[in-house]
């Protein structure tokens, strides 16, 4: 029964979180804290903190965290499965339609207008990521003293390495992590 509850709760989270990322937060909170009481608000805040510190989507992180606490490893697997099943099926349908019709005149017309828009949206997401990483203070406070100069330095070196030497982004991110660990710990 607990497995079914886990599955169903995270199935709904997976189905209704459109827009990705933190758009899913209120939904997860509603299911996990309010409806089922699997976590209290403090633990839920911990899940958010952990998600910011680890890779991977927040909904999957929450599913694993809740599942394992309520019903062990099997619970984690079932909650995660429930979470990805709706998007798996829906995206599969889109993928099928894309593959079948992408060469049609109208579909081509739509897609080639969508591609620049996607780049614009990546840039928009980038701005908020950059603001978050480089300003240690409140985002509304754009004063120079709130700037994290170490982060700016690391970012500049990374940009140079990426543009000049076309390094793999994964190595650049790892290098930035090592640099951060050393510089912030020393100063």
């Amino acid at each position: 029964m607990i497995f079914l509850n886990l599955f169903w709760a995270f199935f709904q989270i997976g189905l209704f979180s459109i827009g990705g990322g933190y758009a899913a937060l209120p939904l997860i909170q509603n299911q996990v804290v309010q409806i089922h009481g699997w976590l209290n608000m403090g633990e839920f805040a911990d899940v958010i903190t952990i998600s910011q510190m680890t890779p991977g989507p927040i909904a999957i992180n929450a599913a694993t965290f809740v599942g394992i606490r309520i019903a062990g490893i099997l619970g984690a697997i079932i909650a995660t499965f429930g979470c990805i099943l709706p998007s798996f099926l829906i995206v599969l349908l889109f993928a099928y339609l894309y593959k079948k019709y992408k060469d049609l005149h109208y579909v081509q017309g739509v897609l080639c207008n969508l591609q620049p828009a996607v780049i614009g949206m990546i840039a928009a997401a980038g701005i908020s990521i950059i603001a978050h990483a480089l300003w240690s203070g409140e985002l509304s406070d754009f004063s120079l003293t709130a700037l994290d100069w170490v982060a700016i330095g690391i970012m500049s070196v990374c940009i140079f390495l990426l543009r000049r030497f076309k390094l793999n982004p994964i190595f650049v991110m790892l290098g930035a992590g090592v640099a951060g660990g050393l510089i912030y710990s020393i100063f």
């Binding site: 991977g56 999957i60 990805i84 207008n113 969508l114 591609q115 840039a123 908020s128 990483a133």
Partner: protein, 197 residues
Amino acid sequence: MMQRNLRFYSKLFLATFQLSAFTFGGGYVIVPLMRKQFVDRLGWIEEKEMLDFTAIAQSSPGAMAVNASVILGYHLAGISGAVVAVFGTVLPPLILLSIISMGYSAFITNVVVKNVLRGMAAGVCAVILDVVIEMGGRICREKHALAIALMVGSFVAVAILKVDVVLVILTCVLVGLLTTVKHKPDELPKEELHDLP
């Protein structure tokens, strides 16, 4: 086309596993990683297709990384490809969170972990900036007015006006349909993103 043998599937699994293990800082980070891995290194998809995948992943419910891997896997090898790709994407957070949930208070209060992550966040900024400069620059060099307008317009809409991304995508679909109706097939503006190095 490449062979769909065990070698292919293990490559697909490893690539998506690696991608997922490094998507720090939100779903969009998958774009530069996917570009490096699947467009540049493996050459399995074109950059245009990757942008199409991103648009579809963004407008479907669920996590961006999972959605992108479903469509990528399906595009390469049908349903079995989608299953393998999703498996590779889900495994890293599943393993990591299972371990962390056992004793996470030490992890989230650790100063060294915090410092490493601060450095990584700066690295993520660089990775995102790089991909925007690269792909945005390409759009600008093509000097196709509508494409540039759509790129700048959707940036302003999302970053400044805080418009929902699904709404932006739907608007662009509408614009695409209207402009396509006006053009005959042979007059369609040719996008040649994939022909450039």
